[in-house]
Symmetry: C2
Subunit: 144 residues, 2 copies
C-alpha cells in the first residue's frame, strides 16, 4: 500500500471511530507529508469540512500548491475539486470512485492529473458506512 494513501485511510478510520464520515486526506510535497485531515461534518457541525478541506485547513497558508499532491480515500466532490483547481494542486490520488463518482472530469478539464487506485479496502470502508448511516451520507453529498 502507498504510505500516503495508508495515512489517508488511517484518517478516515479515525473519523469513523469518532462517529463521523470515513473519508480521509493528506497533502504531500516532495515525498513528505505536509498535512492530514478527515471529514468533520459531525465532529465540527460543519458542512464544508470534507476530508480534503480539513486537510487543507490543517496545512495552513502555503505559498504555493503547485509542487504538492493531494490524496483522498474517495473521489473529490465539486467543492473539493473546485478547491483543487483554484489552489492549482496538479495531482490527486484517490482510493476509489465506485461509491461516489465525484468531479473527475471537471478536474481533468482544468489540467489536474487524477489517479484512481480503486482499492477494495476503501470501497468496503465506504459501503459499511453508507449502509449504516444512509441519511448522514446523503446529507454529506447533498442528495436530499
Amino acid at each position: 500500500m502507498d504510505k500516503f494513501m495508508q495515512a489517508a485511510i488511517d484518517e478516515a478510520r479515525l473519523g469513523r471511530s469518532q462517529g463521523g464520515i470515513p473519508i480521509g486526506s493528506v497533502l504531500v510535497r516532495a515525498g513528505k507529508l505536509v498535512a492530514r485531515g478527515h471529514n468533520k461534518r459531525v465532529q465540527e457541525n460543519s458542512a464544508i469540512k470534507h476530508g480534503e478541506m480539513d486537510c487543507l485547513t490543517n496545512a495552513g497558508r502555503q505559498a504555493t500548491y503547485r509542487d504538492t499532491v493531494i490524496y483522498s480515500t474517495l473521489m473529490p466532490c465539486y467543492m473539493c475539486a473546485g478547491t483543487i483547481v483554484q489552489f492549482k494542486i496538479p495531482k490527486v490520488v484517490v482510493g476509489e470512485s465506485r461509491t461516489f463518482d465525484g468531479a473527475r472530469e471537471f478536474m481533468e478539464s482544468h489540467g489536474v492529473e487524477v489517479v484512481d487506485l480503486d482499492l477494495q479496502e476503501c470501497v468496503d470502508m465506504m459501503n459499511e458506512f453508507i449502509n449504516a448511516e444512509p441519511a448522514l451520507w446523503n446529507e454529506d453529498i447533498m442528495e436530499e
Copy 2:
C-alpha cells in the same frame, strides 16, 4: 441598497478592520438571513476560509440549500463556486466581478443563476485592499 448585500458589505468591512481580506457573504432563505461570514485567511490562518466558506461554516448543517440564495461582495472563485454547485444553491448575488472575474461560467453551466450587481462601492473596497496588500491578495487567489 439590497439589505442582504449591505450585510455582506458590512461583513467585508469588519474583516478588513481585523487586518483581513474584505470579502463578505450571507446566506438567505425566504427573505431571512440564515448566516453571515467573511474571509478569515489572516484571522484563522486558513486558506479555505473565503467569505462564502465562512458563511457556510456559520450556517452549520442545513437539510437543504435548494431554497437559499448566497450573497457575496465578490464573484466566487472555483472553490466557492464548486461548493455552491455541490450544495445545490440555486442563486448567487455578487457585489462585483471587475476586480476578480471568478467562476461565473462554471456556475451557470451547472444551472446556478448568477446576478452581478456591479456595485462601485464593492469595486472601491477591493481596489483599496489590493493596492494596500497586493501579496496577500495574490495569495488568496493563488496567483503566486
